[in-house]
Each structure stands twice: as C-alpha cells, then as structure tokens.
C-alpha cells in the first residue's frame, strides 16, 4: 500500500438539530485523485470546511500525514499542507493576478514585519516573485499577470484559484467544484490540467464535483455521500454500477445521473 496522506475518521458535523455530515470516514493516499460526490446539499462542502478548519467537527478526527489536525485553525492547516479552492470563487478582488498568487506565498515567509518593511528580506522577496512567475507560467496565466483578478473570464478565475492554492505549496489540494460553470471543452481541459499539476507538484487531489465526466475521467477512487452519510465508495467503475448511488442520483436530479 502506498502511504496515507489524509485520514478522516467518523467525522460528524451537527448544526443545531441538523446533521450535515454523519460519521464520514475516508482515506486518501499519496498521489491519488479522490472525488467526493453526492447530490446537492449532501454535505460535501461541509466536509471540506471541516478538513480545512473552517468548521470544527462535532465528532471525529482528521489526520494529515500522521498529524492530528482536528480543530486546528484554517491557516495552520494550510501551513501544514492542505490548500483549497472555493466553490463560489473567492479571489482577492483588489489585486492583480500576480499579487493573488504572490500573496498565497506569504505563509512560507521567514521574514518578520520589520525585516519585510525595511527590505532586509530582499532575497526572499525576489525568490517569492520568481516562483510566482514560474507558477503562473506553469498554469498558463502569465499573459494575464497584471490584470485585476476579478476582470478575468470565469474559467480563468477558476484557474487562478487553483494557482493561488498551489502557491501555498500544499501536499493535498482540495478542489471545491472546480468545473462549475465551465463548458464541456473547458471541463475536459481542466481534467487534463488537474492530472498534470498533480504530477508536476507531487500532489494528492481531493475534489468535489458535479460534472460526472470529469469525476469519472480523472478520479482514482470516489466516495459518494447522501444526506451526510457515505453510501458508496470505490473506483469509478464500481461506483457507477452501485444501485444505491444510482438511486440517490435518480431521485434527485436526472440530468446529473450516472450514465
């Protein structure tokens, strides 16, 4: 077996009387692409928010590469190597594309505010900028580097979200519906892109997605949840033929049903 990177154990999240996520357990190994799917409102984003520290789980445990990160602050978790994108794009609106990505490198600084203000960290700053430049080139956003982030076309904004997450130098990349709002061709390109950056940056990818073509095309394994509970898991082929999954999807939304 390959090494375990993200281990989720009996994760439960209650909001008052509502159980958004119920006893979810997952294991993600290094270098895998794992998808979490389920109908709208199944608790996928809530699960993401627990892994990234936005919510503290009511019960359960999250372990990143052997370290228990349950209830850690979001910034701590990012520093330990989990980066994310947002379903409803959350770029830094007043900044350029370049500065968006550069800002995400802040957490790897060794300077303090005094050395940074008085430019005693010039070497580090230069390195940050070079790396950002290289990263933008890698994801194909170099030509937009001086544009305002929010003026980019929608697809490019999604790409920028991924680039910004990569800039934090993560071990695990969490993508929250990265293909939302993309056309089929863009979606296909995105799939190839995710695989490419996974190899290039030695990542483990954990994604939520509704586009089944994308999920089935790139995932090594898939977890399916409905009403907060896991109803199936396995390879894309296994999940596609699972009666519980078909029932859950057909009962909710035929368009997104599994072909």
């Amino acid at each position: 077996m390959s090494e375990n990177v993200l281990h989720i154990e009996h994760l439960t999240m209650r909001f008052g009387g509502v159980v958004a996520v119920n006893n979810l357990s997952m294991d993600i190994n290094r270098g895998e692409i794992v998808a979490l799917i389920g109908p709208n409102g199944a608790g996928k984003t809530t699960a993401f928010n627990m892994v990234t520290g936005v919510y503290t789980p009511t019960e359960g445990k999250i372990v990143l590469a052997g370290q228990d990160i349950t209830g850690h602050r979001p910034d701590e978790i990012t520093k330990l190597g989990i980066a994310r994108t947002f379903q409803n794009i959350r770029l830094f609106g007043s900044m350029t594309v370049f500065d968006n990505v550069l800002t995400a490198r802040h957490l790897r600084r060794t300077s303090n505010f005094l050395t940074a203000t008085f430019r005693l960290n010039a070497a580090e700053e230069r390195k940050m900028r070079q790396e950002t430049e290289a990263l933008l080139k890698e994801v194909g956003l170099s030509e937009f580097r001086d544009e305002m982030a929010t003026s980019l076309p929608y697809g490019k904004q999604r790409l920028l979200e991924i680039a910004r997450a990569l800039s934090t130098q993560p071990k695990v990349l969490l993508l929250d519906e990265p293909a939302a709002g993309m056309n089929p061709q863009e979606t296909e390109e995105l799939g190839a892109f995710i695989k490419q950056i996974k190899d290039k940056f030695d990542l483990t990818v954990f994604l939520i997605e509704h586009h089944m073509n994308l999920v089935m095309g790139i995932s090594d394994r898939i977890y399916v949840i409905d009403f907060g509970k896991q109803i199936a898991q396995g390879t894309p082929a296994e999940v596609q033929n699972n009666p519980a999954v078909i029932a859950a999807y057909l009962g909710v939304d035929e368009d997104e049903g599994v072909q």
């Binding site: 909001f15 928010n49 936005v54 919510y55």
Partner: protein
C-alpha cells in the same frame, strides 16, 4: 447611607429612562439596517435646539412640544432618505461613514445657528417644578421620566406585535431580502422605523434638557453614545434589552458621580478619589466587558454567520 445614595439613584433612573428612549431608536435601526446611526444622538440634540428657538420666537409651549416631536420625526425621515437610502446596497462601512458625516453636519449646522453658545432650554411648567420625594429634592421630570418611558415602551411593543407595520418591521429585521421578495414595502418600513426612533429621541430631548437646562451642539454626542452602548448592552435589536441596558447605564453612571461621597460616608475611603471622572468611561468599560463576554448582549439573539 440611603439618604446619600438615593438622590443619585433617583437621577440615575431618570437619566436611564431618557437614554432608553434614545436607545430604542438605535436598536430598531440596527435591527433593520444593521447600521449604527451615529447621527441619532445629534438628532436628539437638534430637537433640543428646535425647542429653544421655537419657544424664543413666541410659540406657546403647549404647541411647541407637539411641533418639536413632529419636526424631529421629520428630520429622522429626511436623514434616512438623503443620507442612508442611496447607500443601501453599498458596503456597510459606507453607510456608517455617512452616519458620521450626518452627525458632523448636524453639529456644525447647530454651531453655525447658535454661534456655539450654550442655549437656555425653556422652562416647561409642571415638569420643571421642584418636588421632594423620600427626602430628596428634584425636578418633577426626574420622577415622571421612568413612568413615561415605560408607557411609551409598552405602547411601542404593542405596535410592533399587533399592527401590520409592526409585523413588517419584525419580518424585515429577520430577513431583509426575503421580506422584500414577499412584497413588504421596505422603504416604508425603514422610514417608519426612523420616524418612531427619532420621535422617541424627541421625547427624550424634552425630558433630558428640562433637567440639564442648556443645549449646545455637542450635547447629543455623549447621551447618543451611551444610549448606543445601552442598546448593545441589552442586545442590539431587542427593545426590552435596550431599555434595561439604558436603566443600568443611567443608574451606574450617576452612582459613580456620587461614589466619592458615598464611599466616604461608608468609611471605605478617607479622602476624595476623583472617581466621578469615570462616570462616562464606566459606560464604555461596561460595553467592552459585555462585548468580550457575551457579544450578543443580555437579551440578544445569536446570529450565526453563513460561510
């Protein structure tokens, strides 16, 4: 001991009632618009100035009082329409800045009109008369304020709970957007809120300035801030909360004013400590404590943020 404390307690209850009437305006506006109406205290002051000028120009007092209340409510209405309505979809900070701008404007206008001099508030018969209760001599206004406050609050609560506009107000304060979709006339509700709030501030100004006898452009700033603190203390958005908070603050502030004497007579201290300096500051200390301990205030509802 009682004889020492009682006069301070009495004026505390009285001032508390006046703060309560101002605080309701803050808490209602905040409940609906999520806006700290920094100009509210200044509207209260302007109500005082209007009274001064109206009485000086020969309008009989019995007519002055209703006119002041109507004019004050009108000012509240106009301020909302001119300074807050255009910013309703802007970031919250913009509306708050606009409120500060209005406060600045009102103060400067009054400074211009009055020349920056203390204006003597007209003496209103009966409520300005001296009375002696339980051995403490005070003005009638001190005695009637708490009762009048309670009557107005009860009337207001009835209005909010049992009339159509009151129901609309509750709906809007719960969910602005949905209420709008449900066909509630938002502008009408907001205007009504401002009118009620400033009307009560007008009542408060009559009571307050009858007691303090002079008005100047900065007269509204401190009572305004304190009333706001009272609203936060009680749980912003909650009318009973604002009233309770206001009484607590009014009493505490007045007790502190007399604390040197009270403690001296109780034998705790042997000389003046100058503690009266902190009568204003205490209000803010209370604010910070409540915000640190229970940010939603005594009676506030917990509002969870959507991520």
């Amino acid at each position: 001991m009682w004889n020492t404390v009682f006069p301070y307690l009495l004026s505390g209850i009285s001032v508390g009632g006046q703060y309560a009437l101002i605080a309701i305006g803050y808490t209602m506006v905040y409940g609906i618009l999520r806006l700290i109406n920094f100009a509210h205290g200044d509207v209260f002051m302007v109500a005082g100035i209007i009274m001064v000028y109206m009485a000086a120009s020969g309008v009989p007092l019995w007519l002055c009082i209703p006119l002041v209340l109507v004019l004050t409510a009108l000012i509240g209405f106009v301020i909302e329409r001119v300074a807050y309505k255009p910013l309703r979809s802007a970031p919250r900070m913009s509306a708050m800045i606009s409120a500060i701008g209005v406060s600045y404007t009102l103060q400067n206008l009054v400074l211009y009109v009055t020349g920056g001099l203390n204006q003597i508030y007209p003496t209103i018969p009966w409520i300005s008369d001296s009375v002696t209760i339980f051995g403490a001599t005070t003005k009638m206004v001190t005695v009637i304020t708490p009762f009048l406050t309670l009557i107005l609050v009860v009337a207001l609560v009835q209005l909010i709970n049992h009339t159509k506009i009151g129901m609309a107000m509750r709906a809007v304060s719960r969910d602005f957007e949905t209420s709008q979709l449900m066909g509630i006339k938002i502008n009408q509700v907001i205007s009504t809120t401002f009118v009620i709030g400033t009307f009560l501030a007008g009542v408060a100004s009559i009571l307050y300035f009858t007691n303090y006898t002079t008005v100047i452009q900065t007269s509204g700033a401190m009572p305004g801030l304190k009333a706001f603190v009272a609203a936060v203390f009680g749980g912003i958005g909650s009318i009973p909360g604002a009233v309770v908070g206001a009484f607590i603050i009014g009493i505490a502030e007045n007790i502190i004013k007399g604390l040197d004497i009270i403690l001296f007579k109780a034998g705790v201290i042997s000389g003046p400590m100058g503690l009266a300096t902190f009568s204003d500051a205490f209000t803010f200390a209370l604010l910070i404590i409540i915000l640190a301990v229970k940010p939603t205030g005594l009676f506030g509802e917990k509002i969870t943020d959507k991520v």
